[in-house]
């Protein structure tokens, strides 16, 4: 190669490199704005992509010098550096070098600061997977806080993303409030002034105070509240489905109520809290929710199910008026013939008169009668030609409303909406509070080994009074719950009843207490017997070993006398039958 060839080649390379700058400048051209700050030119393709994916530094809040230095220091090998750091982090975690793990994450997030999954994943690692490795719950608490602190460091880089706040809500609520060590964690949280101060940078921390001290569920509530406001007020993109996203906030109040009634004797504060929880849950039930975030479809509200059913019924009456009389009945006759007389009777009753259980049946039957068959279409086809267009229009509206019903039913089932609404409502009533107080007192008495009635002398007056023991307190609570179940039969299955059953068959529960107190027999007229039977019939007893009426009756018949079942020593031991008296 002679010098002139080499020179020529260099010139060609230079010209080519210069030429490439032209398309580069075109695709990178930034967006321009007019005097009113409206976008007048959207800029090149790269600018548009940056804008649509919210990757421009201006939108990602301030530029962090530490992060930028780290990126520059990787000399264009950011991907490689990221991979190496991930590998190092995984190795450090596997080999239980947790301080190395934590410091590696500090470097990692400096070069991936806007990758939200990194913050979520690694914060979860710290607060859940690393924390659990420690034997000492105080150290576990400390590492959960590290995970939370790690998440908060991601806020400045991801100001337009609510997911950091969702995670903060979950960590502060769920992790502190639902772990096996929840009583200890919540107690630590109440006294952790330094942590409250740190969190005060993100939420109005004075709102987490209660008469019992600051509460972690309220902190979680505030984080979720902020997340919702980002979507509702700041109109920022929402990354979770409506049904899930909007339930987090009200659910924290319910969780708080449940935690508090396990730790403290219920009172006025608890009643107000449940009232608030019920109100916010209803608010959620009245919020328009979109299916899969599709804003083109009509939204539904969970509370409007009854109205929608009523509306469909009215539309069907309108449709029937346009068709020859009795056509619908003819079409439905075959199907109705398959139903029992009781079910047929229920279908004729006004919708408002149905309780929730009957409403559920009603929905099943209407699905059976209408949704799976083109009855409405057949009725519309039977309409006179003059009314045909109107009839078709009604059918269309029925279908739209029916879609809402389906969606509403699906959302309600998924969120267990009805149950939690009724749960919160009951807990906010005087009788709910009374039942909880009795359960709490029963636990306190059990700890003092006072299982049956006892006398107490007033140290001042010297007066002696009879007091109920743990078993009597539980009997009192069960009586209230029996009334509640009578009023809300749909609650005979679900979390509330599971809790009550736990107080009967769990360790230190009613059965064990009776046995310990020498009351070996199962009460003949146990107030919640019907509920126990109902659970057993629905195969929802999950081996709780509670005796059903059928079992009791069989026992009586076998012995030819009215006897009672002897309680087991432990709930998981089969029942022994009482020896017949001569």
């Amino acid at each position: 190669m002679n010098p002139s060839t080499s020179f020529r080649r260099k010139v060609i390379y230079l010209v080519l490199a210069g030429g490439l700058l032209i398309p580069l400048s075109l695709v990178s051209r930034p967006a321009s704005r007019d005097r009113d700050n409206r976008i007048s030119d959207r800029g090149g393709v790269l600018s548009q992509l940056r804008e649509s994916n919210e990757l421009s530094p201006a939108r990602l809040s301030e530029i962090d010098p530490a992060s930028e230095t780290m990126k520059l220091a990787s000399l264009g090998l950011r991907g490689l550096a990221v991979n190496l750091l991930w590998l190092q982090a995984i190795k450090a975690k596997d080999e239980k070098e947790f301080d190395v793990f934590a410091s590696t994450l500090e470097s990692l997030v400096k070069i991936q600061p806007t990758f939200i999954r990194v913050w979520e994943y690694q914060a979860h690692n710290l607060a859940y997977n690393v924390a659990v490795e420690f034997d000492d719950y105080e150290q576990r608490y400390h590492w959960i806080k590290k995970g939370i602190h790690f998440l908060t460091e991601g806020i400045p880089y991801n100001r337009r993303d609510h997911r950091i706040f969702d995670n903060l809500g979950m960590f502060t609520g769920h992790k502190f409030g639902r772990a096996d060590e929840r009583f200890q964690y919540r107690a630590l949280f109440r006294n952790d002034d330094a942590f409250h101060e740190e969190m005060s940078r993100f939420v109005p921390i004075d709102q987490i105070n209660t008469p019992f001290g600051p509460d972690n569920w309220l902190l979680a509530y505030l984080f979720y509240d902020r997340s919702v406001k980002m979507v509702d007020v700041e109109k920022l993109p929402q990354h979770r489905k409506d049904m899930i996203f909007f339930q987090y906030k009200p659910a924290q109040l319910r969780n708080m109520g449940m935690s508090m009634q396990a730790e403290f004797r219920a009172g006025e504060y608890a009643r107000n809290l449940w009232d608030r929880a019920h109100g916010e849950w209803l608010e959620y039930g009245n919020r328009p929710l979109y299916f899969e975030g599709d804003r083109n479809r009509p939204p539904v509200t969970l509370e409007s199910l009854t109205q929608s059913i009523e509306k469909v019924r009215n539309l069907r009456e309108d449709l029937d008026a346009l068709a020859p009389s009795g056509i619908r009945n003819q079409l439905l006759a075959d199907k109705l013939a398959r139903l029992s007389p009781e079910d047929r009777e229920m279908l004729t009753r006004p919708i408002d008169s149905l309780d929730d259980a009957e409403l559920a049946h009603y929905r099943e039957f209407t699905r059976f009668l209408y949704r799976d068959s083109p009855v409405d279409v057949q009725v519309a086809e039977a309409a006179s030609s003059g009314n045909r267009r109107l009839a078709d229009d009604i059918v269309k509206r029925i279908r739209e409303e029916d879609f809402k019903i389906q969606l509403s039913e699906s959302f309600r089932d998924t969120m267990n909406y009805d149950h939690w609404r009724d749960y919160a409502e009951i807990e906010s009533t005087e009788r709910g509070i009374a039942a909880r107080q009795m359960q709490f007192d029963a636990e306190t008495l059990t700890r003092r080994s006072i299982l049956t009635e006892y006398t107490e002398r007033n140290p001042v007056t010297g007066e002696v009074s009879r007091k109920p023991g743990a078993i009597q307190q539980l009997d009192g609570a069960y009586s209230i719950w029996a009334e509640v179940m009578n009023d809300y039969p749909q609650l005979r299955t679900g979390p509330l009843m599971n809790e009550i059953v736990d107080t009967m068959s769990g360790p230190g529960g009613y059965m064990v207490l009776r046995r310990a107190a020498g009351l070996d027999e199962w009460p003949d007229d146990f107030v919640l017997q019907e509920v126990i039977d109902h659970r057993a019939r629905g195969q929802m007893s999950f081996d709780d070993h509670l005796p059903t009426s059928e079992l009791l009756e069989r026992d009586r018949q076998e012995r030819g006398r009215r006897g009672s079942m002897v309680l087991p020593d432990r709930p998981d031991i089969r029942f022994r039958l009482e020896q017949p008296t001569p």
Partner: protein, 660 residues
């Protein structure tokens, strides 16, 4: 944390029964290298001048090597080394490397100084930075020097002088090493100052709104660290370097006649109670890897407190490890290893607690009072793992029990008097080094040969328990249903604390040896490759060197996902590496080709230097003394590679037709 001072030099060199001795591997590699070298030389010479002449050419080169190496002149080597230094200095890469290092330190503070152990982060940072820069620098200057000289024909100015090829190669290696050494010394010194300055700090005791220090009830739980058992009151310091400490008032009860607390300035009051002396004194908690001494002057509201500079960062613990660790199962049967509690990382074996004979026995040899800086109180350091199968008592950590026994070697008669100490119970603390001060004289019993109790009393660990220097430490888990995990390096006696600066030098010696190998490799490659290819080759050798363990695992099939072709196939088809491939002809072909590649990779890991052997950063990071065996092993590895690379470079340059 895993810092092991195993194996000993003799075991490493000649094998310990489980691993092959390094000397045998070296001899094998040497033999293969010589044969391959002769064969390659013969093939190249055959192309140049035919097979007949080739034999004589190779013989001439081999025969000439002896005089070339044995008649080297130190003066000429020195001259070549000086020339190499001048050449490299003109390139200004040294200045650039030092500038980059300075910038790193300047901005490094942005990322350092936080976390549980800022000292570890600091040490890691300076060692990693120095290592990277020095290796890059030496690689660049060694890779470009000779090829540039040959390309620019400036090599003639040297080659025409009466200089031997061996001197040319060795002189350059030494010259580049000298440059690197100078820069490394500078970096080491600056690093030490940087770490010392970065970690140096003090605190004040935080005051209330009224400007007064207030000690309150002990409530430490939210910090993740426990208060001292004898703490009466506590308060906090101000936040400095992203952390704060607790200052406790503790009740220090000592028997009459015992010496008073060493830190007299921290004593608030003292009181005689019966035959004990009760001192109330201040103590600063150990947080973020260090503590502070505290002194108090004045009383009541007029009291003034002063905290010293950070203490406890710069450690160089010299451990005495057990010679062997034996695990025993629930029925007391010896096991090859402890229980596995489901951890992916199987470094630690576990023993279960409660009504079980499971235990771990650490057998110490050479347990000698002369080795201990203070043989009256023996610091036993433990890093135990804990695993719960049931929640148990959530408020307590899992309890462990320690017992000392004398023991005899295999085949020796059971002594008439066997000593066993009383059980020392304590709550474990995971992921931290727990220190138990074991007094030299401890309560225990003496048993006869048949296990009969002879007497009880207080006995001397050295004279009574281990008169032959053999001491057994038995570790048990005391909680039913729970497990304790341990490995050989997890329990040791800290016999002494070495000077930190000396350990720092020893740690830096590892980087120096890595640099020496890179310089030798760079020069060796540059004798027959162009500068860019030399650089690439050296980088590959460095990468292989640092990741040799992982690469060896890949070669041994311990990493799932297959060889390069299978990995590529899995990547493009987005197939998980654990998913089994269908047994088709294509897959068989792919695996066959991969096996060749993997075999080659495996062979390469045998001939490239294992840089992890030369990396002492973990010792410095975790505060352990780099023992002589580690340094000897590293020196032998370095000498082997440097000599090998220099000799290979000599033969390559010798056979190269410079005139061409």
């Amino acid at each position: 944390m895993v810092v092991e001072n195993f194996p000993e030099i003799i075991d490493w060199l000649f094998g310990d029964g489980q691993t092959t001795g390094a000397i045998f591997v070296f001899l094998l590699v040497l033999l293969v290298a010589v044969l391959l070298g002769l064969f390659a030389g013969f093939v190249i010479a055959s192309f140049r001048s035919g097979p007949g002449e080739a034999f004589y050419s190779v013989a001439r080169v081999v025969a000439g090597a002896g005089p070339d190496w044995f008649r080297m002149s130190p003066r000429r080597i020195g001259a070549i080394a000086r020339l190499a230094i001048k050449e490299a200095s003109r390139r200004r890469v040294i200045l650039i490397a030092f500038l980059i290092f300075s910038v790193m330190l300047l901005f490094g503070g942005w990322f350092l100084g936080t976390g549980e152990h800022p000292d570890r982060v600091y040490i890691n940072f300076v060692m990693w930075g120095s290592q990277l820069l020095i290796l890059m620098l030496v690689m660049l200057i060694s890779a470009f020097s000779l090829p540039d000289d040959i390309r620019n024909r400036t090599i003639y100015t040297v080659a025409t002088k009466p200089v031997r090829t061996s001197e040319l190669v060795l002189g350059r290696v030494l010259g580049f090493t000298a440059i690197g050494t100078g820069l490394l010394l500078l970096m080491g010194l600056v690093s030490l100052l940087f770490v010392w300055r970065g970690l140096s700090h003090t605190h004040e005791i935080a005051v209330g709104e009224d400007g007064r220090v207030r000690f309150g009830e002990v409530d430490r739980k939210t910090s993740g660290h426990r208060a001292s058992e004898n703490a009466l009151l506590e308060t906090r310091t101000t936040v400095e370097s992203s952390h704060q400490h607790f200052v406790e008032i503790i009740e220090d009860v000592r028997r009459a006649g015992d010496p008073p607390p060493g830190d007299a300035a921290s004593i608030i009051s003292q009181e005689q109670r019966g035959d004990t002396m009760v001192y109330k004194r201040l103590q600063v908690s150990h947080d973020a890897g260090h503590s502070h001494a505290i002194s108090v002057s004045g009383e009541g509201n007029d009291a003034e407190y002063e905290l010293s500079d950070a203490r406890g960062f710069f450690r160089a613990r010299k451990p005495l490890y057990a010679e062997r660790l034996i695990f025993f199962g629930r029925e007391g049967e010896p096991r090859r290893e402890g229980f596995n509690v489901g951890d992916q990382w199987t470094y630690r074996g576990f023993v279960d607690g409660g009504v079980s004979l499971a235990r771990a026995e650490y057998l110490f040899e050479d347990f000698d009072p002369d080795d201990f800086s203070n043989p009256d109180i023996l610091p036993l350091e433990l890093t135990l793992g804990a695993f719960r199968t049931v929640t148990g008592d959530i408020h307590k950590r899992i309890r462990a029990g320690l017992q000392f026994e004398g023991y005899v070697g295999e085949g020796e008669a059971i002594p008439a008097r066997r000593f066993r100490s009383e059980l020392i119970e304590f709550e474990t603390e995971e992921f931290a080094i727990q220190v138990k001060g074991i007094p030299r004289k401890i309560p225990g019993q003496i048993y006869g040969p048949k296990g009969e109790l002879l007497e009880s009393g207080v006995y001397d660990l050295f004279d009574d328990f281990a008169p032959q220097g053999r001491l057994k430490l038995i570790v048990r888990c005391l909680d039913e249903g729970q497990y304790l995990g341990m490995a050989r390096a997890d329990i040791y006696f800290r016999v002494a604390e070495q000077a930190y600066w000396w350990n720092f030098v020893r740690g830096w010696l590892g980087i120096w040896m890595q640099m020496l190998i890179v310089a030798s490799l760079g020069v060796a490659f540059s004798t027959f490759l162009t500068a860019p290819v030399t650089m690439l080759g050296t980088i590959c050798a460095i990468i292989f060197g640092f990741f040799s363990e992982s690469i060896r695992k890949l070669a041994l099939g311990e990493i799932s996902g297959g060889g390069p072709i299978e990995s590529f196939y899995r990547m493009v088809t987005q197939m998980n590496q654990e998913v089994k491939l269908a047994d088709t002809a294509g897959v068989q072909i792919m695996k066959s080709i991969d096996s060749v590649f993997i075999g080659m990779i495996g062979a390469v890991t045998r001939i490239v230097p294992d840089f992890s052997t030369l990396d002492f950063s973990r010792f410095l990071t975790y505060g352990y003394y780099v023992d002589n065996d580690r340094i000897l092993v590293a020196l032998l590895v370095t000498v082997a590679f440097c000599v090998g690379a220099t000799v290979a470079g000599y033969f390559c340059l010798k056979t190269r037709e410079l005139a061409g």
